[in-house]
């Protein structure tokens, strides 16, 4: 797999910059590797279409450990797909898990089990849950030794359960995190939160080498989740991206808190105001 052949459709669309082509090739390679599962019979768990576009292989897999960090909404998006297809889901160690939001985002409360405070027994509880419930989300209450983690992973594979982790997990299969989020609908003094655009960054073992990013509406205005088509009309994030290079696009955004820059002009509507106020 060292010499990537250019994908056939990549050859046709030869206009974009070389960096964009390279990225496209990487993405295709990731998809190929995702389809060539490293293990035998790892079956896909029904995944929300918005999240499927993010994940390597296009779906969550049974027996996998996926870290979902820093966003309960993202975790709910991962739980919504299996729940909607009739599976039980369990959430352990996340006492602030918002039940109403979960219901609105499509998680069936009839098949949702919460263990708000497993305390020191969190690993035992997670194992007991994973024995019977196909999708389990946990927040580790302490550090986990790699040996324990691999024993746990073997158990998950045997049971065909999917583990979502809000926190650290040695040797997880993939890791999803929010890189930035932009709310719309709320202004300075009026409006209310309506929807937000996020950039989800996926890193992981093997299948996704350097990490890929994907823009999602999480949640969209209709309380659903949706992937944002990259080719769609210019949005807040798209507008400030130098064409093609994602790494370069994100870095200045993050550094922006230190000092207002002129580049953020077409960004979120209220930001120039803030810049004026802070200076």
């Amino acid at each position: 797999m060292t010499a990537p052949r250019p994908a056939p459709d990549g050859a046709i669309a030869s206009e974009p910059a070389p960096a964009a082509r390279l990225e496209r090739v990487e993405e295709l390679q990731a998809r190929i590797r995702g389809m060539q599962a490293t293990r035998l019979d790892t079956r896909a768990v029904p995944t929300h279409p918005a999240l499927a576009s993010v994940l390597p292989g296009g779906a969550l897999r049974e027996g996998a450990v996926v870290q979902v960090e820093g966003s309960i909404t993202l975790l709910m998006a991962a739980l919504a797909g299996p729940s909607r297809s009739g599976r039980w889901v369990a959430v352990s160690g996340i006492p602030e898990f918002g039940v109403e939001a979960a219901a609105r985002f499509g998680i069936d409360l009839e098949r949702l089990v919460l263990v708000p405070d497993p305390g020191g027994q969190w690993l035992t509880v997670a194992a007991a849950l994973a024995d019977v419930i196909p999708v389990v989300a946990v927040r580790p209450a302490g550090r986990l030794a790699p040996a324990e983690a691999s024993r746990f992973a073997a158990r998950l594979r045997q049971r065909g359960a999917l583990l979502l982790v809000d926190g650290d997990w040695p040797g997880s299969d993939a890791r999803l995190e929010l890189e930035r989020s932009d709310w719309t609908g709320l202004e300075r003094g009026h409006g209310h939160l309506a929807e937000r655009e996020v950039v989800v960054r996926v890193t992981g073992r093997g299948e996704v080498g350097r990490g890929s990013r994907r823009r999602l509406r999480l949640p969209a205005g209709d309380l659903g989740f949706a992937a944002i088509d990259e080719a769609a009309a210019p949005s807040a994030i798209r507008a400030v991206e130098p064409v093609g290079d994602h790494e370069a696009a994100i870095a200045p955004e993050r550094g922006e808190a230190d000092g207002p820059t002129a580049a953020s002009a077409p960004d979120v509507v209220h930001r120039p105001e803030f810049a004026a106020r802070a200076s």
């Binding site: 909404t73 919460l114 989020s181 709310w183 202004e187 309380l223």
Partner: protein, 537 residues
Amino acid sequence: MSAGVRTVVLWCPDWPVLAACREHGIDPALPVALTEKGLVHSCSPAARRDGVTRGLRLREAQYRSTALAVLEYDAALDHRAFEPVVRGIEAIVPGVQVLRPGTLAMRARGPVRYYGGEDAAAWALLEAAAGLGVAGARVGIADGPFAAEQAARAAGTGRSVGAARATTGDPADPAPGRSPGAVLAVPPGDSAAFLAPLPVSLVADARTTTLLHRLGVRTLGEFAALPDDDVRRRFGAAGAFAHDRAAGRERSRVAPRTPPPDFEVEQHFEPPLERVDQLAFAFRVRAEEFIERMRAVRLVCTGIRVELDDERGGHSSRSWLHPQWFTPADVVDRVRWQLQGSGTADAGLEAAIVRLRIVPERVDSTGNHEEGLWGGGPDERVHHGLTRVQSMLGHEGVVTAAIGGGRMLADRQVLVPWGDRAPERAAAGAPWPGSLPALAPASVFRERLPVALVDAEAAPVAVDARGAISAPPASLAVGGGRAAPVRAWAGPWPVVERWWDADRARRVHRFQVVDHDGCAWLLVRDGEGWWAEARYD
């Protein structure tokens, strides 16, 4: 017209009060009243002396008797507490009908022949009742259950009507404790005369009573004197039935109950047990026996009540439901949970346990709980797994969620322990003016986090009485963390609840704030300061 069947009625005065006092450990000699829907349902003799009567409003009752202890009337408790009395009476006289908790009827023929006379039978019943802890019971004997019950109520009031004779017991053997006039026997055929002076409201409902009063009929005697056919034509079947009762020729008979099989188990511990695990171990055999006995008659138990007595006289009673049916291990688990709460299994108890009793509250035929031909469904596996987690963490450790009504987010999520039924709550679908827009926050903090919201001059943002903010917020620090500039905000959205109730009143202002990292917060301003209620993350 034949007279009614000779009947004995045993009446325990103020039974609901007695049962409630026993359950709550109150001395029944004190003024006690039970209320139902804000009205006095029944009261103790002491309360009655103070002027409390049935149907009085609670406030009026408390005004008349200032030391009144008020309890909620619980019909289930009434029946439950009466059950041992029924069993005790059935042990000496078979074929007993429970007219209502506190009142028993039985045919007179058997006991009269066995004990050799109506008085002897009556005193045997009273002695049995006294042995069961019911003091001051009364017995009435007359033709038909209705007349016998009225005789029992008349006994002891010193009212001697017509030819009725109140006995003072066998004069040859004046046993101690035989209160005079506890038995009133109306001679056969004299029931109509005995009933004649009683008010007509005893047999007719409120509407008919009013009508009869307007017609000038005030007593049962006057009602009974009306021609049979006219009463039937004017008042229908119910009127005819009441007419028969008033005339002392009641046709209804005693319908003796079939004693239900006895499944409850009770275990006394001597010496008392001080640890939960000891108790669980000691009880395991009885728990198996409890379930096995029910299984033998093809029943499963879906609800039990666990009663515990400790050596300091404490009493704890709680009902437990099961989503499927109880196995012996489940029963032992419930006992443990009731004792330890959320503590661990080897924790010591506050007081050693001397008695444990398990009563089945809901039983069902096994036919309704039969496993499918290919074993139970996946939900059954889930249930077993969750029960395991529950036995690790305690009953409250595993919860399911539902959405309830309310304005604050914490009110809207209802967490129910696995296996319990969701409580009846206000409807989530109601409009709830003042609640949040459709987008719900993903993180709802169980305990609100303190936050600092300051304006451009670093002064805390305040909301005045008219709901106006002092200055636009400029910077937000959550939980004592680093202050971050505010990107966007909206508010205040006032929530004013239950202003009529000083303890539960709530008056807060809500804000939505997006900080500079793009994280959105739902903030609450109350009298004490700023809090983060939830986070949109």
